[in-house]
Amino acid sequence: MALTHIASSSSRSIFLKPISTALSSTPFLRRLISSAADDSTTLTIETSVPFTAHNCDTPSRTVETTPKELLTLFRDMATMRRMEIAADSLYKAKLIRGFCHLYDGQEAVALGMEAAITKKDCIITAYRDHCTFLGRGGTLLEIFSELMGRQAGCSNGKGGSMHFYKKEAGFYGGHGIVGAQVPLGCGLAFAQKYSKDENVTFALYGDGAANQGQLFEALNIAALLDLPAILVCENNHYGMGTAEWRAAKSPSYYKRGDYVPGLKVDGMDVFAVKQACKFAKEHALKNGPIILEMDTYRYHGHSMSDPGSTYRTRDEISGVRQERDPIERIRKLIFSHDLATEKELKDTEKEIRKEVDEAIAQAKESPVPEPSELFTNVHVKGFGVESYGADRKEVRAVLP
């Protein structure tokens, strides 16, 4: 009784904290940490499929993990999934406006990457950015507030779904134009190399963006200057409604760097992603850029205005859900190592659902930005934007 009380009172503030710190309050994990299976236990896991390499070695298929990591991954991934489902309903209820691109299905990419790197490494991505932001330590409150255009959002409600940022955690955001973030990522990598701080940049893009010319321009610069840039192609196989093979003569995106090495990774297997990102970071610090192609899948359509079922069969989607779902893979691993019971995982999912609902409720309480915010952040403060009134007798006010 006392235990449940503590759990529920602490869960009220869970959504204010980054997910991994919030984890320590889950009852079953506490049981686990205090039980025999402590942190020092290591588990050895084989990745689902071997890596395929282009002009480089392949990392080992054997990955080491701990019970704690497995359970954390389960919780984080389930939070991402639940969050995106909730965003779907909020969009349909017209509480989220603008364009909204959901990440469900691709969770293993964001989390596997985080598991291999530190917050000093940079990540820059396109507009499917909710879960990447959560992975970097963003909170559910910041996410839902930003989605609904409220002050408590991570961009103060001024960005919306496509424009999440978290500077202190090296998350350079959410960019709206397909492929445009990749050259920026190379700039970040140059700054890192120049300051000799041994960090790398992960520049994410989709299979649709892989056909943009600026990607190759950026890759060439990165290779010329041996920049610690890792180009991550999140290949979910459809650039909007266009299947990869219709848009790309060679859909082997890991090979398209030609002189830049590449690695094809099962993006639905979080441990394969982790292993590949670890390998890529070491490679990039030593030898310069590398391409990682993450073979993944989005369950939703491209954006909320795409039902996602006109250009692919329902069987295909349900097949991926059954065979390759990243959360189910972790759930199976947890069971096979006897780390938690089915009920305990179900309880975790219930808790997550509650946290998400609470975050949404709190986000709804957050006010929309002040109207004067329309004029701020256009230029540096002091170089204000002129606003023109309709009545010329009191025109032009220079706003902050």
Partner: protein, 359 residues
């Protein structure tokens, strides 16, 4: 907010049916006499594309997702009817799409390229400005890409946010060698698009995406063209001239109706072609009314309204009875939650009409 927009939408349909089909030019009358079907704007564009491909075997339609009908359904049925060799998807690469179109057009074809949103046209800016616009000039008329027409949906939709709402027309109006055309209604869209496709110059054709489904009017089924570089007085008045284009005209139309209630008679002009634009029609109107208001969704500074204002001051300085007013988007990036503040709304225009008339 949403309900207000819907209400606006409905009233626009009524206005457009009544107002825009009552036009007075002879060309329009001829069209009005033909029996037509009630069509929305995207269906009118679709019909124009069908006619363009049917009447010219050397016409092609390409762009992102066009063979599936495009995100706004403008190219529905084209691939089935004309085959995948003439209607095809391209990869996601705007610079490549336009450059490809220039090459195709240089061989004497009609290249009809679609850029999915006008906000995505910027990667192709170099191709349009440096390649398409100057091809004829710098080759001493040996080559040109006059068969190129670039279609792109522009403008606000109520909740599009930063990258699905912009109006980039002014950037292209600074480029000699191309034409920029913006239709206001389904009937106009069909006639103007066919003119653009058949015009011997490269054209950027911006479609008001707010009106794709919202604007409905009778559109003749036959093949017709509306002249480029010819503005149209869509409402006659004596106190003030209002100039606009595209979706903004419906907002201005409502302001005119409200101003009428206060006894102000407004003349409303649809510019249609922004470059090269019909200065004479605007000049004649301003000489009559002595006052001018220009309105567009793009930010006011450096917008095309500035060019109109400067030209009219040059031509009508002594006839002006009040300073020229511009009611446009604010000088901020296109906002997400603040779209209602940013937009040049009916009330902003109405206020400006009153203060200009009472100057």
């Amino acid at each position: 907010m949403a309900t207000a927009l819907q209400r606006f939408g409905r009233s626009f349909i009524l206005i457009s049916k009544r107002q825009f089909s009552n036009s007075s030019t002879s060309c329009e009358k001829k069209i009005a006499q033909q029996s037509g079907k009630s069509l929305n704007l995207y269906s009118a564009i679709n019909q124009a594309l069908h006619i363009a491909l049917e009447t010219d075997p050397r016409a092609y339609v390409f762009g992102e997702d066009v063979s599936f009908g495009g995100v706004f359904r403008c190219t529905t049925g084209l691939a089935d009817r004309f085959g995948k060799n003439r209607v095809f998807n391209t990869p996601l690469c705007e610079q490549g799409i336009v450059g490809f179109g220039i090459g195709l057009a240089a061989m004497g074809n009609r290249a009809i390229a679609e850029i999915q949103f006008a906000d995505y046209i910027y990667p192709a800016f170099d191709q349009i400005v440096n390649e398409a616009a100057k091809f004829r000039y710098r080759s001493g008329n040996q080559f040109n890409c006059g068969g190129l027409t670039i279609r792109a949906p522009y403008g606000a939709v109520g909740h599009g946010g930063h990258y699905h709402s912009q109006s980039p027309e002014a950037f292209f109006c600074h480029v000699p060698g191309i034409k920029v055309v913006v239709p206001r209604s389904p009937q106009q869209a069909k006639g103007l698009l066919l003119s653009c496709i058949r015009d011997p110059n490269p054209v950027v054709f911006f479609e008001p995406k707010w009106l794709y489904r919202l604007a409905v009017e009778e559109v003749p089924e036959h093949d017709y063209m509306l002249p480029l570089s010819e503005a149209e007085v869509i409402r006659e008045g004596s106190d003030i001239t209002l100039v606009g284009w595209g979706a903004q005209l419906s907002i201005m139309e409502q302001a005119c109706l409200d101003a009428e209630k206060s006894g102000i008679s407004c003349e409303l002009i649809d510019l249609k072609t922004l470059i090269p634009w019909d200065k004479e029609t605007v000049e004649a109107s301003v000489k009559k009314t002595g006052r001018l208001l220009i309105s567009h969704e793009a930010p006011v500074t450096g917008g095309f309204g500035a060019e109109i204002s400067a030209s009219i001051v040059e031509r009508c300085f002594l006839r002006l009875e009040a300073p020229i007013t511009r009611i446009c988007g604010l000088d901020t990036p296109f906002p997400l939650v603040f779209e209602p503040f940013y937009m040049p709304t009916k009330n902003k225009i109405l206020d400006a009409i009153k203060s200009t008339v009472n100057y």
